[in-house]
């Protein structure tokens, strides 16, 4: 990529590593926040526990990545500074994960599409030239396999359950599919990260992801929606209206009582 041979060996600047870490960390953080909304409200006690469990794993990933981002940035920002004191336009999470829970069907579809993507991502991220990313990927991959088993299992159960559950989960799929193109198109951080050997090329994740997703959808008797041409990407800081509401709620304590320790 670079014209200068001197920087080819490790061209991942601190600035790029910061952006890549916040891209991955924000994606996990915002989805954890959405799942946290479910706790105490799920269709059965077992699902309350499972959703809380997944939220905790994702939050753990976010904390690791945002702490690392703060370190590499070198301005003394902590995981909390990055989570609670950035504005919506500074967040670079996938737009998919900021979408509202709506119902259990939408929530499961959102989880499934993301889990299937994280499976491919973390698998490849283990080979990152940055040991901290490789380490995170190895740990997160184990968690993601569990998440995927849960979400894919529910996609099948709902899709091949009753007529109502089939219709609801199909509606979730139809509503959320348009956000998946973002996972495989170049953003900014992920494309540059790939060039620098930090992470996988986003486009390289698509074939395996799609094969996986299509197979589960088929088992679930669900129909894969058509891809749409218009693109609006969270990772390019183009968020839907939902993110600012989510952040207003998530950040209010730190914004109201600046500088306090909790």
């Amino acid at each position: 990529m670079s014209a200068s041979p001197a920087i080819v060996t490790h061209s991942a600047s601190a600035e790029l590593r910061f952006r890549y870490a916040t891209y991955l960390g924000d994606t996990s953080l915002i989805l954890a926040q959405r799942l946290g909304e479910w706790v105490g409200h799920a269709p059965a006690l077992e699902e309350d526990l499972a959703l809380a469990n997944i939220a905790l794993d994702l939050l753990g990933q976010a904390r690791y990545l945002l702490s690392y981002a703060g370190e590499i940035e070198g301005k003394g920002r902590s995981e909390d500074d990055l989570a609670f004191l950035r504005d919506p336009s500074d967040f670079s999470n996938l737009a998919l994960v900021e979408q509202p829970n709506v119902d259990f069907g939408h929530t499961i579809v959102r989880q499934f599409l993301l889990d299937a993507w994280q499976l491919e991502l973390f698998e490849k991220l283990q080979a990152s030239s940055e040991p901290r990313f490789a380490e995170l990927a190895a740990k997160a991959l184990k968690e993601t396999r569990y998440h995927y088993r849960f979400s894919a299992g529910w996609v099948v159960r709902l899709g091949d359950g009753t007529e109502e559950s089939h219709n609801r989960v199909q509606a979730g799929l139809d509503a959320l599919w348009r956000f998946t193109s973002e996972m495989f198109a170049p953003g900014a951080a992920d494309e540059e990260a790939a060039a620098a050997g930090l992470g996988p090329d986003p486009a390289s994740l698509r074939a395996a992801w799609l094969a996986n997703v299509e197979q589960v959808l088929q088992t679930a008797t669900l129909k894969r929606p058509a891809d749409v041409p218009f693109r609006w990407f969270g990772k390019r800081h183009q968020h839907t209206d939902h993110l600012s509401h989510l952040l207003a709620e998530m950040q209010f304590m730190q914004r109201t009582y600046p500088g306090a320790q909790w």
Binding site: L29, Q33, G36, E37, V39, G40, H41, A42, P43, A44, L45, E46, E47, D48, L49, A52, N53, A55, L56, L59, G60, A62, R63, L66, E79, D80, A83, F84, D103, F104, G105, V156, R157, L158, D160, G161, T162, E164, S165, R168, E249, M250, F252, M253, Q254, Y257, A260, Q261, W262
Partner: protein
């Protein structure tokens, strides 16, 4: 099942199996000898019913108790606090599951018990009908409410009914962890800014009396105490446990630099106990009858989760049916 049940009485009493008095005596001497009663053992119907009532109320309390704290998951002020809070609320759901399982060993299903909760015929702890307007409430609940719960629950680890006692051992371990976390939140607030300290004091003011009420009515007016103590479901009276809680908690409040909202509270040298002011039993009754600040919201939230989740549970059943049919066909 039936023969096993009889076997467990011992062959010598088979011929008198219909003699209720003998069965009752054998049961009581087993309890007196601190032996555990197990699901297949004979037990008086009133013992069974008391345990179903108590264990299910306990389970319901865990489930409804997820709501006041769950209220702060999306707003927790740091990522560490958020993670700890999610883990805690998840533990509570797990406690509910242990307890429903323990209740099911007495011959009632979790579904029936949940129906009773949603219909408003089963009770849950009065404490969860209070709101959590500030972050400090999460700390106060951990410190005071879980503290009171532990005080109540540790003696139940030696309860005469085996499944309940064993559930309690596991639950108490996690509860004491929660209690320490709650105290740590209060400590952070009490040592923080003036605003944080005010928040902590305000939470103590609101949770102190409801926490004392968690131990139930005074011994003089408690309906179930005497029988429950004979059966060793209960080991201490309500007032004994309440006193123990106060004696332990007041010094903790002092350590935090917070003031217990009881002008009559004083240390008594003679008895070596704190003497406390009168509890507002009228408020306790009102909350138990459904007229506390959040009774309506708590039940509505549980009902909504149950109703809105029905299609999901139905889908899981329908899918399991289809799978069974497919397996049969394949075989």
């Amino acid at each position: 099942m039936y023969t096993q049940g009889l076997d467990s009485l011992g062959a010598d009493c088979l011929h008198q199996a219909t003699d209720a008095v003998t069965l009752e005596q054998r049961f009581q001497s087993k309890v007196d000898a601190d032996e555990r009663i197990e699901p297949k053992d004979w037990m008086p119907d009133a013992y069974r019913q008391t345990l179903i009532r108590q264990i299910s109320q306990h389970a319901h309390s865990e489930i409804v108790g997820m709501l006041p704290e769950g209220n702060w998951i999306t707003r927790a002020p740091s990522l560490r606090r958020k993670a700890v809070l999610i883990a805690k609320v998840q533990d509570e759901g797990g406690h509910g599951m242990y307890l429903y399982s323990a209740a099911e060993t007495l011959g009632i299903s979790r579904d029936e018990l949940i129906e009773q909760l949603l219909a408003g015929t089963a009770k849950y702890s009065s404490i969860f009908n209070y709101p959590t307007p500030t972050w400090a409430d999460v700390g106060a609940i951990g410190w005071l409410v879980d503290g009171a719960a532990i005080m109540n629950q540790i003696p139940i680890c030696r309860c005469s009914y085996g499944p309940y006692a064993r559930a309690m051992v596991r639950i108490c371990k996690e509860e004491s962890f929660h209690q320490r976390q709650g105290f740590e939140i209060m400590m952070t607030l009490a040592r923080g800014t003036a605003e944080q300290k005010r928040m902590a004091q305000d939470a103590l003011n609101r949770w102190w009396w409801p926490s004392l009420m968690m131990f139930g009515p005074n011994d003089a007016t408690s309906k179930h105490t005497a029988q429950s103590m004979r059966w060793k479901i209960k080991r201490f009276t309500n007032d004994e446990l309440r006193q123990k809680f106060i004696d332990i908690t007041v010094p903790q409040a002092e350590y935090l630099g917070l003031k217990v909202p009881d002008p009559d509270l004083r240390w008594d040298e003679q008895t070596q106990h704190y003497i406390h002011g009168p509890i507002d039993w009228k408020e306790f009754e009102d909350v138990l009858k459904g007229n506390g600040p959040c009774n309506r919201e708590r039940l509505e939230t549980r009902r909504r989760a149950h109703d809105e989740g029905r299609w999901v549970r139905e889908a899981a059943l329908a899918y399991a049916e289809k799978q069974r049919a497919r397996d049969t066909q394949a075989a």
